[in-house]
Symmetry: D3
């Protein structure tokens, strides 16, 4: 058992936090998190943190603003309680898609969030499969960006046919597709959108999918729109109607399940970075990344505290 570490969970994914704590061999810290009747986040730690190494586990998943403010409140309570250091484990980093401006009149929310987290004294962030890896540079604080790819590949391998291609649903995912292809020993296909002169958007397929199985990858599944469109395009180009989808973060917003509950989609693999909401969906496979996070936290805590007692 670790003497120096206290791990608190926000309300976004307590099951994952409990799993990480169990893998670390630490008892989760007691705290009371609630909302006042007017919706303000209410946080109270129920045990002292003075001088302790604190780990906060909170994916900033929907409702993202509430979960974000809750995390800030937790961190401020720990800072004012004189925690030695505060590490935030943010398995899913919300607002990551707002990582640049499309014109001069937008915010960069990914950077705003980084500044907010640091303004309350978080000095280390552990996260997974950021929408773009450059978000790490939005922080002055060290960011450990873990990958779910190996866990997902290990889980998918038994399910994948011999001859399949890895498909990037748009050009921005081409690098991720190449990494999956390298890991799984497959070819890459890239879809990309293009507007015709009369501004109709069409999806082009770069590479050959006729008669082949497809592993469609993405970093997250939100409303499922892009992926459903990709599936339609792939089928239109003659892909086998046994498509597998893999993504790290399974948000499944609104019509997502309906859009992806197609016969041509054989299986969907996501991780538990976000508290699963679709456990009753047979084709959905949820891969736990708690061991990956626990390993990273353990390594960090052991190194910074000299405490070798973590299980």
């Amino acid at each position: 058992m670790a003497h120096d570490v206290t791990l608190f969970s926000g309300r976004a994914n307590p099951a994952l936090a409990a799993d990480i704590a169990r893998h670390l061999g630490v008892r989760p810290g007691r705290c009371t998190i609630d909302r006042f009747p007017d919706g303000e986040s209410s946080v109270r730690l129920d045990e002292a943190v003075c001088g302790r190494e604190v780990v906060l586990v909170q994916p900033t998943a929907p409702p993202v603003n509430d979960h974000l403010v809750e995390l800030l409140a937790l961190a401020d309570a720990c800072r004012r309680g004189v925690a030695r250091r505060i590490t935030a484990v943010i398995p899913y980093y919300g607002y990551a898609r707002s990582d640049k401006r499309h014109n001069e009149l937008e915010p960069i929310m990914g950077r705003v969030v980084a500044d907010l987290l640091q303004s309350v004294g978080i000095s280390h962030v552990v996260t997974m499969d950021l929408h773009t890896p450059q978000i790490e540079g939005f922080f002055r604080a060290p960011v450990d960006s873990l990958s779910a790819m190996e866990s997902l590949c290990a889980a998918m391998r038994p399910r994948l046919p011999h001859d399949f291609v890895v498909v990037a649903p748009d050009a921005g995912r081409a690098v991720l597709a190449a990494r999956y292809a390298q890991c799984l020993g497959a070819e890459v296909v890239v879809l990309h959108k293009r507007r015709t002169e009369d501004r109709v958007e069409t999806v082009r397929v770069v590479g050959d999918v006729a008669g082949r199985s497809c592993l469609l990858i993405d970093d997250m599944i939100s409303t499922g729109g892009t992926l459903a469109q990709a599936v339609a395009v792939l089928l239109g180009k003659g892909a086998k109607p046994d498509i597998v989808i893999a993504a790290t973060h399974g948000l499944f917003i609104g019509p997502a399940r309906e859009r992806l509950d197609l016969p041509a989609i054989g299986a969907i693999f996501v991780t538990d970075t976000i508290a699963p909401t679709q456990r009753d969906w047979p084709k959905l496979h949820i891969v736990s990344v708690a061991p990956v996070f626990a390993h990273a936290v353990k390594r960090y805590v052991e190194a910074t505290t000299g405490d070798r007692s973590l299980s």
Copy 2:
């Protein structure tokens, strides 16, 4: 018309923002504010702010976290769009009651919010009747804390009986009650809570209310619990069943209307710092503070830009 000022409204109270803009004689800036399907706030300015004096109007009223993040997003868009300076008009400052720690294990959210606002480049805040005036000192940036008291008193005077006392619903409001009493030429009564040895909470009345009318004041009406309790105590002590309630901020959360829709309450006065939700309630009087804010912004803008064209 002012050439240098652009005023944007968040979604918390666009009617108030429009009123302030009209009083200033400026056209509200165009911007598109929305939520993505996953709940992330989405902001896009629809006109350039480069070199302009920007005023953002957004009470951080419920849903407070969403309105807060929306304000941060607006400010970041303006900052990255090279606005000259960004003033935030925050008629109601959410999280103001979290202004100190009750034990060592809580955050001070009022300070956290101040840090967040400043981290995105807001360099001036205009607000009204902060829960405690010391919150001004949570900011490095200048804070103009306006008062609704004169507007409320002017609106209430015709309604108040000759012989009434101003009642503070708890000891923390005694200073506010004294200020109302000074403004209206009345006596003060202070309620305060006390726990007996067996931990039953009772409300004590300091001062005499028997046979007198009461003006019960507070800075805000949230769920109405404290005020309803005060009314019951006052009536129990023989106060006339014609109580008037006045508060700057009318949140009216959950059971508030039900709790306060009592025959013994003759009238309730609040301002429009928060977008009114109970317009159909006859005993509720809503006093506009748009002129108060417009006056403060105008004075500031004229002084800093030399622009005398504001109406």
Copy 3:
């Protein structure tokens, strides 16, 4: 004996610092503090602080500016000497009454002082009975605000008559009076000032004092003006001429003793947060808060250093 802690005292209250050190079982650190002939503060540590947990004890009592700069000098010496962390024990926090602006043309010195303290590397503040508890939020650093109320109540109890009321000398002290009343099981009376139309200031008494004993409380006794005025008002309303006064901080500036050396005042209780100057005054009772500070520092140091050797 604690191996990791060095406690230095400024010149404001070395007796209290020595008491705290004795309670902690640590030897006070050696340093030479003086003024150059031109009045500049001169500080030199006489033992190394590299890697040590440093505690500086200095109430910013009068002469406040000199004691404040002396504290900043001590902290800078420790910071440049590579102290691990610097905790400032500031039993009395000067400039606390400048905690908001009364108009737009004043400083908020309570916040300025907070910024100064943090600018030289003080990362933790331990103080007592701040004029308003919100001053805690002026700091980014953790602030432990201790209370002298229990110590004072314990000392006063034998002296208090059976039937007494707790009197707040103005509306701003109503909350403090309610806390004392709760602690001692008594009723509350609130005084508040009001200006008549011809601008004469009168003091109103909210609650009943006729024929009763009064415990007049405040956070500090400065020149004694407000308290002397309160005594006169209470006596005018028929209070028993056996008034007890209690306050945490006993400054006793200028005419304070003369003003309060009245037959109707039976006893005055203060603590030793400020170096006592009126030890020869029979009715003045000085209650030591050294154990309270020692307890807080000990708990903090043990938690942050793992050192359990403090007595």
Copy 4:
């Protein structure tokens, strides 16, 4: 002529700075930049900047460290000379490829450089075709990231055959290729590297190039290695030996010219963000982006100073 703007050029690309100044109608500011015998950068402004809007033009091209420090020295001189604001026009942003960590043991130099620039008071950056657009988020200050694509496309159009594909030399450039394809109305092909089990690196071609002309695009041409490899792969897949290469930044380090001076490469288009070193190379076409920068600076200066006198 603009009264408020002073534009200084570092020594990295004075010709571009002069062109931008001419497009703006301003006289370049006089300054003396040199190296001391020991290699320290030496900067002295030869005209006052007090109260002026300063624009510094300096691509951080090789020798990158010297050009970077020179820019910092210029900015510090302007800051201490009380310039109103300092805008850095950095046509080529060095260290942009160090935008994330490949393992936990590297710096993120793109972020370090952003911090350095801001530490000397640069409050606005204008740059072009950042290696990844997210670098914008490394800055707290506004970053205008301009694009050379339209200028390059305009220059290339007469040279391009009817039937050509846009080729991304690796998966990371797929988005850029898609943007060029959209602009020019062409198809996309993506190359990506893959290591076989015995760790031999091979380049895969996603899409069809047999018998087609290729426009190979990239953000920069450094040593030419990646592009030369791509050309070989394309020819091996049957591409027409009339390949056109386009990139914003032409560094042409070491063997670059030798590697790319192939008969199968018909033309190379770059801009003048970096001072051209290969003007004698017939197949190299250098497109000036001075008008693009001048336009952006003009718009900014006009908006922030109200000065409409820029030509």
Copy 5:
């Protein structure tokens, strides 16, 4: 008359502030500065500063801590009153001799003061003859360090004999002596202290003074000890008993006048950076530097505001 500038004076040298204001053609701003009975500095501006260029004049002369805190209070009042920019004219910079550590256990108060001044929003400092010019680098903000040497030399020239040497009273003043010597066309002599083996301190004279007149220079006259010692040494080496002393800052602490009121000292020249206290001393000549400060402020204000109306 200047429309944009407001100049406030602290209480350290109002006569100098009035002179500077008169030279600038601006009316001094009205403010009320006082001490509370407990010694806390009390500042209230009596006119608005919103949007104005503020100049604060306050040498941090003895009592240095009070004058320093008073300056901080003035600046905070201006900052919170939304002044456009705050320039501090600090004719004498207290704590300048604490500019390095003599061992590892001292503060560097010159840097602490720089941090304090900047923490309250002072963004520009104008000062004179800093004890060491490197103190400029203690600030991030621009520092204009003016020189009184030309004013002093102009005043002294009629008084100086034909054949005189400039004497540095210790090795640290050798550079200053060389500058005076250059300005006045004279030779240099340097005194320096040395401890013998039995730790007796002796003063060595480097250069020849026998039969010559001496101009003894320093940056300040504090208690006069060093200068009186230098005079004795010079006379012992045969210098003519008609020594002239010149220094920018005349503090004249404690025994200074007594020590320097020697027959062998013919005249003493200082400036009015510090409010003169010895106006009745015939051999003391006070040279006004108000024109030098007014010139610097005027140039700065004109450049930053475009206001050419300063007289």
Copy 6:
């Protein structure tokens, strides 16, 4: 062997770093430092630093910009790798001569460098014989400024004649000369430059050198120009042609050796703060300061980590 310390060397003086490591009894950390073909610095640590006390050794000697950026890159890698603390040992601090502005139009590079070093997380600096000791105050972080004087004196003593004077080559070195004189028991002579009316620069000699041996001291030997000029002047005044030169930092830029390889110069003593380039020069004596640095680092590490295992 120390368990907690990792020492990395940049490429400026790996021999000195190895010596320091050997004196400390620690194994130098493994890292790969290189330049990309385009000249960008490339750094990769080859062992983890998480939780470790890191010491970086890098004099910012020529090529100063490259060595400086390399040091920043090393520090950022350590910071992002979650080092506990980063100490930079900078035996020679480049840009130290840019420690003030000579007019209003220059940077203060010594301060810029201090800001850069701190912006990447360096929290402690150990350096030697700064050009001016006030540079310590450019840092917020603690700076230990060691002295090579004792090491140099110890090495020189056997070589120095009985009757010699210590000569400062200009007035700015008078304090240093006095310190050497104190250490060695000798007299001081000061040279200083003066321009005649027709602007010819002449060097004046303050003190007597006729027939005496001279020890000419300086903090560094750069191009040797000032020292060669001083030697000529001394010889012209009749000094014995057996001059010894001592300086901490031996840069020996360009013509330095040629200028100083004079028969009248008997010996030159420097330290190894800068990697020696003239080992084949018989009259050059290089004194190692590795023990001085090792001693300072050891004391610091022991105190901050409690680790007493350093040899």
